[in-house]
């Protein structure tokens, strides 16, 4: 009963909007890439602070991580979105747009405006807290002996962390970290809440209102997400194998 006889028709009707699905997908990946990158930088910074920062800095990092992990993403998003309004800061942003045509369809893509900026920022701040925890785990697992051995050679603390601890920690973190990295794309749908960001879920919403075939639309979007996530985790697995330390 779920699938009617006109399944093929539905499918074709939804796929008729392939240009929208495609541009939505591009925007999703664009936001994902930035969020992952910024989150990683933030996470690395937080993790190092938390492990080597001394009482005050490690306390600050821990507090940040716990707060970000303890509150819902939606609340964080709204909080950040309305913050400039509350503080009376103008929130106009430069808008970056691009357009290209593919198979005779003109696709125009808004790459940066205020909602997209807020989305990327929220995701990075949140993802940074999670990535920090994974990175901290791997830094701790490298062990204090490595740091001591480096220091016994006369290397400074900073240089020991940079040349001895981090290269090992970054290799070790990949399996756990790929959980975060591979599943972050699906959190980009979050920006649906503030509206106006034409990513994949927004486009799905648009298509289902046009075609009145919600189930087919959402299933197609689900499949797109599944393929994306699976390929990212496969890629990370490959990287992990390539960077593995021989004999370990």
């Amino acid at each position: 009963m779920i699938f009617q006889a006109n399944l093929i028709e539905e499918l074709l009707a939804v796929l008729g909007y392939w240009d929208r699905l495609f541009s939505g997908f591009l925007l999703t990946m664009w936001m994902y890439g930035w969020a992952l990158l910024l989150g990683f930088i933030l996470g690395l910074f937080l993790a190092i602070l938390r492990v080597y920062g001394g009482t005050i800095f490690s306390g600050v990092a821990t507090g940040y991580i716990e707060i970000m992990r303890g509150t819902p993403l939606v609340a964080q998003l709204f909080f950040i979105f309305f913050l400039p309004n509350t503080l009376n800061i103008p929130s106009e942003m430069w808008v970056i747009e691009t357009s290209f045509s593919i198979f005779n369809k003109e696709i125009s893509l808004k790459l940066l405006d205020y909602p997209i900026f807020v989305g990327i920022l929220t995701l990075s701040l949140n993802s940074g807290a999670y990535q920090a925890e994974y990175l901290r785990g791997s830094i701790v697992s490298v062990g204090a002996g490595q740091l001591e051995a480096a220091q016994s050679l006369g290397m400074s603390r900073l240089s020991s962390i940079r040349h001895v601890v981090l290269p090992q920690a970054l290799r070790r973190v990949i399996p756990a970290w790929s959980n975060e990295a591979a599943y972050l794309p699906k959190y980009t749908v979050l920006v649906y809440f503030i509206g106006g960001v034409e990513e994949l879920f927004f486009q799905a919403d648009f298509i289902q209102h046009k075609t009145f075939f919600p189930l087919t639309t959402y299933i197609i979007v689900s499949i797109m997400f599944l393929i994306t996530i699976t390929s990212i985790s496969k890629l990370l697995e490959f990287i992990h194998k390539r960077t593995a330390i021989p004999g370990l």
Binding site: G145, Q146, E148, A149, A150, Q151, S152, L153, G154, M155, S156, S159, H163, V164, P167, Q168, R171, I245, P246, G247, L248
Partner: protein
């Protein structure tokens, strides 16, 4: 020389409530090999870690060629380049090949060129007879080989003194010989060493002085002959007896090299 290479004056150290070192003093001249032994928990490892300032002592002074390294404004990193350390659990850098393990200090601390560092590292590896294993990762080496890389890592920095923290106690019996041999070789080549070990055979072969440490105090000191013939305190006698039971067999491992030298 008036000033000994290493002078340790009344070093005290405690971890929280536990007093580990209670005023240890000794001196070490150039080319000396000092063996420190004693029951576990007597503070031997802590003493070495104090000398390297990995755990700075609570009170007391340590002089390296006349420089007080316990003074507040000393550049510890510069001091540590002059004091090598070999760890009980090797602590090799797992992500680096043997040769890079040895050369990382030369490159990052001494600022040598890549080629120059590699040449020196190979030299050091050669001294522990591991040159052909240079391109292996630590996890691909046996425990004995790993420890020899650890020794080479310390050697390559050309330190004034090398500290050995129970270098053979984490090894399987059949691997101990090669490590002791490497230590023996560099000791005979004139390296100044402080060795925490229970290998009495090694001590007899090269030690210029042995120190028995118990409960954070030096109980007795003397030459290897002194300890093997007539140790004064009962505590030492009993301990040496126990060691004989446990480690006695390892002496054979070193016989060969002594004979070689005899020739």
């Amino acid at each position: 020389m008036d000033e000994p290479l290493l002078r340790i004056v009344d070093v005290w150290k405690s971890y929280e409530d536990l007093q580990v070192l209670k005023g240890v003093s000794f001196e070490l001249a150039e080319r000396d090999v000092k063996v420190i032994f004693g029951p576990s928990g007597s503070g031997k490892s802590t003493l070495l870690r104090c000398i390297n300032m990995l755990n700075p002592p609570d009170s007391g002074e340590i002089y390296l060629r006349g420089d007080n390294i316990t003074a507040p404004n000393v550049d510890l990193n510069a001091i540590r380049t002059r004091i090598g350390m070999v760890f009980q659990h090797f602590n090799l850098f797992a992500h680096l090949k043997a040769i890079d393990n040895v050369s990382i200090g030369l490159r990052r601390v001494k600022g040598l060129e890549k080629q120059e560092a590699r040449r020196k590292a190979l030299e050091a590896l050669n001294r522990v007879r591991l040159a052909e294993w240079a391109d292996h990762y630590p996890a691909q080496l046996s425990g004995g080989q790993q420890q020899r890389v650890g020794i080479a890592r310390a050697l390559a920095m050309e330190p004034d003194v090398i500290l050995f923290d129970e270098p053979t106690s984490a090894l399987d019996p059949e691997l101990i010989g090669e490590v002791l041999q490497a230590m023996l070789d560099i000791a005979k080549a004139g390296t100044t060493m402080v060795v925490v070990t229970h290998e009495m055979g090694f001590a007899r072969a090269v030690a210029s002085e042995m120190i028995f440490l118990d409960d954070g105090v030096v109980i007795e000191r003397g030459t290897p002959e002194h300890f093997s013939v007539s140790p004064k305190s009962k505590r030492v006698k009993r301990f040496l007896n126990q060691l004989d039971v446990l480690y006695g067999s390892h002496e054979k491992l070193l016989k060969l090299s002594e004979e070689e030298e005899g020739k």
